[in-house]
């Protein structure tokens, strides 16, 4: 730790040996800031889709729907029979038939609020909530076939799996984006460092002739680029955090995109971005410096 602090404090003489170069300094700060800003969003996307995948996986796995399509005179009887079957099925925590109001609310987005559901041949829906252990879907279907022939069990498997798969892939893409952002930052800082090294060829030559070792020459460049990346990334991450914080709240709009953001301790994750950017800059500049210095005597 003391070595890191000593390094951060720097060697004023070594730092002064290399003149500040405006172009590479601005490029590094801008790159770090822009990449940190993007990294905050990639991180937010990754965390949000992770939450979404977990929620969908758990919520949809815990519920299923029974749809009873029967002639109007048989509908009430088959519904009652199905409820009795469900009440004796292990793994079913509760089974609740949807009321006409609830069915109307479900159809309202498509047909408007005044739909006369009582007069339409709409199937009766029963919402089933499972226990954590779940039920035997094949066995339940067989029993329902006998007691309520018009009942169709939808355990959400058909559309749950693609949804969870999509959310999981989105999370992976968010993480991949973070890796690509880090790689792009490293590439940009390497180019900026190489430009700075080339622009200071005469300085390096003079330092060499008076006996400077590679580590001394590299240190001035590496420390400078690392601190620039740290500062730029801190600004970019802060702006990104503010932008994420200003997104509409999930409980207001309820949609997926408005759920993009951080929750609880998740707000601490972006704090990691500036030190990571500094680490990337340190490694990239050091590699570029030693490679460049190794090319000549």
């Amino acid at each position: 730790m003391s070595r890191v602090l000593t390094w951060l404090a720097g060697d004023p003489q070594a730092d002064r040996a290399v003149p500040p170069t405006g172009f590479t300094a601005r490029l590094t700060v801008f790159t770090a800031a822009a990449m940190a800003f993007l990294a905050v969003f990639a991180l937010a996307l990754s965390l949000a889709t992770g939450r979404l995948a977990d929620r969908w996986a758990s919520e949809l796995a815990q519920t299923s729907t029974l749809r009873i399509s029967a002639p109007p005179e048989q509908l009430a009887g088959q519904t009652q029979a199905a409820l009795e079957v469900l009440s004796t099925t292990p793994g079913v925590a509760s089974a609740t038939p949807l009321s006409a109001e609830e069915q109307r609310a479900l159809l309202a987005p498509w047909f408007g609020p005044d739909l006369p559901v009582e007069e339409l041949p709409i199937p009766q829906l029963i919402e089933i909530v499972e226990t954590p252990e779940g039920y035997d879907a094949t066995g339940l279907r067989a029993r329902l076939q006998a007691e309520a022939p018009g009942a169709v069990l939808d355990d959400h498997t058909r559309w749950r799996e693609p949804l969870v798969e999509a959310a999981t892939r989105l999370r992976s893409m968010g993480l991949l984006s973070l890796v690509l952002i880090a790689a792009a930052t490293a590439a940009m800082i390497t180019l900026a460092a190489q430009a700075a090294l080339a622009a200071n060829a005469q300085v390096i030559r003079v330092l060499r002739l008076v006996g400077a070792q590679d580590a001394y020459i590299a240190r001035a460049f590496v420390r400078r680029f690392t601190l620039r990346a740290l500062g730029g990334a801190a600004v970019g991450a802060a702006v990104g955090l503010v932008a994420v914080a200003l997104l509409p709240r999930a409980d207001v709009a309820g949609g997926f995109l408005t759920g993009l953001g951080f929750q609880g301790a998740g707000w601490l994750w972006p704090v990691v971005i500036p030190p990571l950017a500094a680490l990337v800059a340190f490694v990239a500049t050091r590699a570029a410096a030693f490679r460049s210095l190794g090319e000549e005597r």
């Binding site: 003489q13 040996a17 005469q202 060499r208 002739l209 006996g211 210095l293 005597r297």
Partner: protein
Amino acid sequence: MIELENVAYSYGGAELFSGVDLTLAPGSFHFLTGPSGAGKTTLLKLCYGELTATSGTVRLFGADMRGIGRDDLALARRRIGVVHQNCEFLDHLPVAENIALPLAVAGRAGEGEQDLSDLIAWVGLGEQAGQLPPELSGGERQRAALARAVILSPEVILADEPTGNIDWEMSQRLLRLLLELNRMGKAVLIATHDLGLIRAAKAEVQARVLRIAGRQLQVAGADL
């Protein structure tokens, strides 16, 4: 300390010199003369490892240059003070910091501040210490380069036309400094066209005068 054994150097396919044998032992004093383009500066660069010999062996403080790493070469250069012909400096740093640069790279920044002031005063740059190198005249740059070359009290001093841009009085002061350092046991090699400087030195010290001619290093005649 510095040994060249059967050294040849070619540039662009043309041989500049060959068969060069030279030893800079502690306390030795050498002048190197020869026509322009004969290879004086190249020979000096071989002596501090800026160039690598085409063939032959160059040893710095016992280490063969063919196997020496960059960091070890840097350490060796701290034991060699070089006054370059074109006096390169860090143009963004004041003269005093340029002169103290070898101390800084050796991790001894801040050491001997009084000695630094004395040295700057001795080379007559007291008033220019805070100026930037581009603001100095040719002679002032030469003196600053000399001060930088000797600040680490090196064991060998190599100077390439050190009096090329300075007046007679300053060249005599410079010579006195080099003679003084030589009496302290430092090896000195000066590449120069300045016959007056050579004669003045020979009056005070057992100086060996070498000449590059016909791609060979020869001992110069007694007329020098």
